[in-house]
Symmetry: C4
Subunit: 261 residues, 4 copies
């Protein structure tokens, strides 16, 4: 991965298909996304269970529990998986790395498929063991409640921008050049970014910022209600990623400007 840092990845990269490290990275993405769904959905089931069923809104302590669980999970997973696959476990993070030419399109598609499969399996396991609660809480599906769709879309858009911004900052070539263990330290601010977005957006738009999560909960929940707002949780993150990539390339990317400065 270190070589990718300082140079552009090939566009298609079909030669990668022959290496074990390519296939291994996909397996790792599957496991990481599985774990993310498993833990974050179980936490929702744990926390909601003790207050009230079927209510999507939550009290400050519920909100904190969900936000901390999501943030800490992402932080731990980034720490554990970065060295193997880059630690994406989120289709828009993969898309973002493709946009800034750090991974090939082949790898991007492979990752996204594995992430969605991992997320579906994670949600299915939670459903299997917590059937009653899963139904009552709409399977933790991403729904836009009490607010119009425009606000939900904006929250998703902006939340993903914040996440992608932290991810790009952490994988900055300038930093990794100075210091080899920056990727390890990066786990904390990326986890904080996820925590923050959940604190700000959970009561209003349920916080997706991960289309694999939104898709998986909708599929496993299997009700029409879970599908109604699905487009918001794909379109919002997509545009957020585009803005973050643009901002990264124009304002932050150190190389091009260094010659000018």
């Amino acid at each position: 991965r270190d070589e990718n840092m300082n140079s552009k990845a090939p566009c298609f990269g079909l030669s990668e298909l022959k290496s074990w490290s390519f296939w291994r990275a996909g397996i790792v993405e599957f496991v990481a996304t599985f774990l993310y769904l498993y833990i974050s959905l179980l936490t929702i089931m744990s926390v909601k269970k003790s207050t009230s069923y079927g209510d999507l809104l939550c009290s400050p302590e519920c909100l904190q529990a969900i936000a901390w669980a999501s943030g800490a999970t992402v932080s731990a997973l980034v720490y554990c998986f970065t060295a193997i696959s880059g630690g994406h476990f989120n289709p828009v993070v993969t898309f973002g790395f493709f946009l800034v030419r750090k991974i090939s399109i082949t790898r991007a598609l492979y990752y996204m498929i594995m992430q969605c499969l991992g997320a579906i399996c994670g949600a299915a396991v939670v459903k299997a063991f917590q059937k009653t609660r899963f139904e009552l809480l709409h399977g933790g599906a991403n729904l836009v409640n009490y607010e119009s769709e425009v606000i939900g879309l904006f929250f998703e858009f902006f939340g993903t921008f914040v996440l992608l911004y932290a991810v790009f900052s952490a994988s900055d070539a300038k930093r990794t050049a100075i210091d080899s263990h920056v990727p390890v330290l990066a786990a904390l601010p990326v986890g904080f970014a996820v925590f923050l977005v959940h604190m700000a957006a959970t009561p209003l738009s349920q916080t997706g910022i991960n289309p694999a999560r939104s898709l998986a909960t909708a599929i496993v929940h299997g009700k029409k209600k879970g599908w109604e707002d699905q487009w918001i949780f794909w379109l919002g993150p997509l545009f957020g990623t585009l803005l973050a990539a643009l901002y990264y390339q124009i304002v932050l990317r150190p190389k091009p400007f260094k010659s000018r400065a």
Copy 2:
């Protein structure tokens, strides 16, 4: 920025106006302050919404939610933006760095303007999407409730001292000389400092310690009430910064004393 660390910045620094890195730093300050207001105000709306409207006081779990959100936001922003602009997003931090001669007056004024603009835009976006709650919670404006103005002023004064102290410690020349990734590690203690000040002062003076935030919420809220205590949230942080800069220069600054010791 590394050169600024070990030497004094020029007083006016008009030559900086020609470099892209100067303008880019301002853009980054705008974005960072925007994000700070966006996330911290939305968290206030999230947390207050679920308990009671219009009440400025908050329960221990509310307090923790607000303090963690503010602390984690500052920590993540410092991590992401330090390499580009220094990661101030607070007029008094900029003022502090000017006082210890690490940035020029030109840069200081430019940063402060961008910070205030960013804060106003951040508060405006929150108002646009959460109009009802924004009104009920006085737009998250900094008000001194239940206490006399003297106490509010003291809390702001001391809270800013704590924040500036952590910021100065993190950008200490002696440390950065030894170890190039200290600025990355600094994100955590600075975030903790913000968390702490919120834990101690939120129920009493609403915790400003960032005049850009206080100004923006007062402007966007647009009620007379929001302006009454505005002076407290400028004068307090200003004196806190002066004391921290003085303390830093006389007691902590390593260079002058090393020759004596």
Copy 3:
């Protein structure tokens, strides 16, 4: 310990018996497991005491208190004890390190015995000073409540997999080769992993993922009820460790694949 990292430990390692560092490591494991039980059980007593006696389920704020206390304890203990004994204080972590051939069977057995003794002493001290609460809360024993045994078993299995995964990632030879203080930084993600598993599993299976803890609470509690589900908290973690070791050896272990990649 550094040499163990890059080479396999001897199978029996009887020669270790002559070194003080071997015996010291066991003493340290005893103290660490003692501290883990002492703090985590006292926190349960603190938190439960203020809400309701005898109820094993807990509110979101209780859940967070228990999860944070467990995670932070493990994080602090890993930080303090890694340099001396490896910082296991959990029989399945010891078993995992034996499986991937990082410690000898002699050391593994010695550690496990010391861990169980430490855990029993820790629980006994808590019982001695908090007798009434200890009885009312079933001594913090690991019981499977409201759910069938299969779910409890699965939660233990998967929770241990997550923990072991983080532990293996943190002690990865590839990382420690680059960077000598990775073990210090590892304390945070391992602590997060423990926090996460508690958030997800505490209300359902009381979260063991540490057979020394489960054994000690059952022995010190001394009621038949505490023993009924004991097998779950040994079998689940055992299989979780096996899967994590397998996954580590086949998918993650860097050495064998580097030549292929």
Copy 4:
């Protein structure tokens, strides 16, 4: 301070009296202890205020607020002050460093006096601005409630052992030799240790583990009640420090055993 790490400090060290760095360290200890009392007492006032007056026991969310505020304050102060004075702001930490011969008796006494003065000023400022709440909450004084004195003594003894253990581990010569920024990273586990001890002991013995804090709250509160249990909060930490120093010297100190191993 680096030289002190690898060699013993002089017993009296009267020559230190001539250096500015000696006097500066005391000023810094004063400020740090002042800040510790200011923030931790204000947090108690904030959190208790919103639930019930005069009640020393607290709910899980109160407990977490107090524990996090104490832990994060210690973490931030250790980060900021370690380079100047060692970052003790606690008489028993100073005593511990004297016991393992890292500071002279002159410095130890000077630190302790400055710490007690700083703590008294911190508590006095909180009292001045929050008079009503300060009285109602007994000035945050360390009292042993609901339990016999023996248990309170044991909790103090053991809590201090945990704290000192983390402090000694963080200032371990073996670590600092490898890696110059270990003292910076140490701020987190030491903060966690303080958090943990508060989680375990706050509802039962109010958690002192810092005699300067116990003394200051008793003096500023000025009631007979605050003095009754004062001896517990000096004797407990003292014995905890003795045990930690003994354990450190015999079991953990790397130098003597390396030759044997």
